[in-house]
């Protein structure tokens, strides 16, 4: 007679703790991303030396996405987001696609993966929606690896040294920034955690520009970025 091997018992508390620690470790290795509201929209700045693999992307007319952590995992989330948005916009109308619904979907998905799968996603994502012209507000959602969701005002930071960046922005952010001031502040915020000064070659920058027609998302190419960084700063 052979003894049935008993499965190891791990308490749910311990399991969640281990998973969270694992996910946080993965994320803390990633470089950070900041987002700031400025006068004409929302700015996103990522430390990313690659010009081909993006961390910041367009989801829909007024919605952008930024992800840190494991590339294949946030890339999956990004594509799922584009699909969610395009199907919704096609079935109803373009105006019915909202960051809130998308952020909720991400929260559900990440929450389910965190509790049900052996390996949680090692990602944190931001979903930003720029206000349309008639008076609604900008929205910024921050979704964590376990599905925790927060809505942020004025600025947000994700990634390895996000706490430090947030503290910096708390002291230095003010409303009504111009695009130049916002870009400079965003880069300074990322610099806080660095030994070197970041230049346009280390950065990926995009905006949701309220003044644009329909699709508000616009990448700022390195030449234009160098100019923004250079002016008055």
């Amino acid at each position: 007679m052979t003894a049935m091997p008993l499965p190891y018992y791990v308490s749910p508390e311990q399991m969640m703790k281990d998973k969270a620690e694992y996910a946080r470790k993965g994320i803390s290795r990633g470089r950070s991303i900041v987002t700031l509201e400025y006068r004409d929209g929302i700015l996103l700045v990522a430390e990313n030396p690659s010009t081909l693999l993006h961390k910041i992307s367009e989801i829909y007319d007024r919605i952008a996405f930024a992800g840190v952590g494991k590339y294949n995992e946030f890339e999956n989330l990004r594509i799922a987001g584009v699909r969610h948005a395009d199907v919704k916009g096609y079935s109803y109308s373009r105006g019915d696609v909202t960051a809130k619904a998308l952020a909720n979907a991400y929260s559900q998905a990440l929450g389910n993966i965190f509790t049900q799968d052996i390996k949680p996603f090692e990602v944190e994502v931001l979903v930003a929606e720029v206000a349309d012209v008639n008076g609604s507000n900008n929205e910024i959602y921050h979704i964590l690896y376990d599905g925790t969701i927060e809505d942020e005002k004025n600025y947000a930071a994700i990634g390895g040294q996000a706490d430090e960046i947030r503290r910096f922005l708390k002291d230095n952010y003010h409303e009504g920034l111009t695009i130049e001031a916002a870009v400079q502040l965003g880069v300074r915020a990322l610099n806080v955690t660095q030994n070197k000064t970041l230049t346009e070659k280390d950065l990926e920058v995009a905006v949701l520009d309220r003044t644009k027609e329909r699709r508000k998302f616009r990448r700022i190419p390195p030449e234009a970025l160098a100019q923004l960084l250079g002016s008055g700063g």
Binding site: H54, S57, E58, I59, N76, I79, A80, G81, V82, R83, H84, D86, V87, K88, G89, Y90, S91, A105, Q108, A109, N112, R215
Partner: protein, 269 residues
């Protein structure tokens, strides 16, 4: 809406139509009539045209939708922007044609966002061809949709025009094309007036002449409506993007041409 979780399973297929086919097939349902059923009267779009000029292409359409001998709409827009560098002119049964243009626009945008890159103009034209082919069973029952597709080809640095048949057959035209009930009249007009490397102003003139001629000969095509202030839709597609020709400018050219025609009529009479 599908549960987005289920969407996570597939790896990056950039086609929106495939996505709908898998997850929301009801949204791609074809319109089909019973065989032998009496054909219904449905609004038809009438004349759209595209022509090449120095900077790219001009696309234009009249504003009328016709249902049998009735006017169904006086203000329909038949040129729809597909993306920054291309547009579709819809002719045929208005309902499915507008739906096709909307689906095509979403398809291109979806591809662009998922892939992070634009389709080539040829790729876009082929995609539209597949969509027209999907519509073939409906076309056999009278729901014919035959668009014109035109755009600026970044890789070749020129404007290009594609026309289609109901089976999705795609034919490229280097100079100009017009489609719809007034299409032949517009083409006849373009045949006499179109020249290579037209400037923008001349291209606008030639475009409006063609639409006036089509409205003159074809009962379905709407002429400029001076009473209500309704003028044709005209768009330009160039290296720098898809642009509207402002209504004031169209109005001025229309008035000039109508005056010239009135004068010529008087001189002849």
């Amino acid at each position: 809406m599908d549960d987005p979780l289920r969407l996570f399973g597939e790896s990056g297929n950039p086609s929106f139509i495939d996505l709908l086919r898998c997850h929301s097939p009801h949204m791609l349902q074809r319109l089909e009539a019973e065989p032998g059923a009496e054909p219904l009267r449905m609004p038809h779009g009438t004349t759209v045209l595209a022509l090449r000029y120095r900077d790219g292409v001009v696309m234009a359409g009249d504003r009328q939708a016709t249902e049998g001998f009735q006017v169904a709409s006086r203000r329909i827009e038949k040129i729809s922007k597909s993306d920054d560098l291309s547009g579709v002119g819809i002719a045929g049964v208005a309902g499915p044609a507008m739906e096709m243009a909307r689906l095509f626009q979403t398809e291109l945008e979806h591809y662009e966002k998922v892939e992070g890159d634009n389709l080539s103009l040829e790729g876009k034209a082929n995609k539209l061809s597949q969509m027209i082919r999907m519509n073939l069973p409906a076309a056999m029952q009278g729901l014919v949709v035959v668009p014109i597709f035109a755009g600026f080809d970044e890789r070749m640095g020129v404007g290009r025009i594609f026309k289609y048949d109901v089976t999705g057959g795609k034919y490229e035209d280097t100079d100009y094309w017009a489609q719809g009930s007034g299409g032949k009249d517009a083409r006849d007009s373009l045949k006499k007036r179109w020249r290579r490397d037209l400037g923008r102003d001349d291209a606008l003139r030639v475009t409006i002449e063609a639409l006036l001629d089509a409205a003159d000969e074809d009962v379905g095509t709407g002429g400029p409506d001076l009473v209500r202030g309704i003028f044709p839709t005209i768009k330009t597609i160039t290296r720098s993007g898809f642009g509207d020709v402002p209504e004031d400018e169209i109005r001025r050219v229309v008035e000039t041409l109508l005056n010239e025609r009135a004068k010529a009529e008087k001189a002849n009479g």
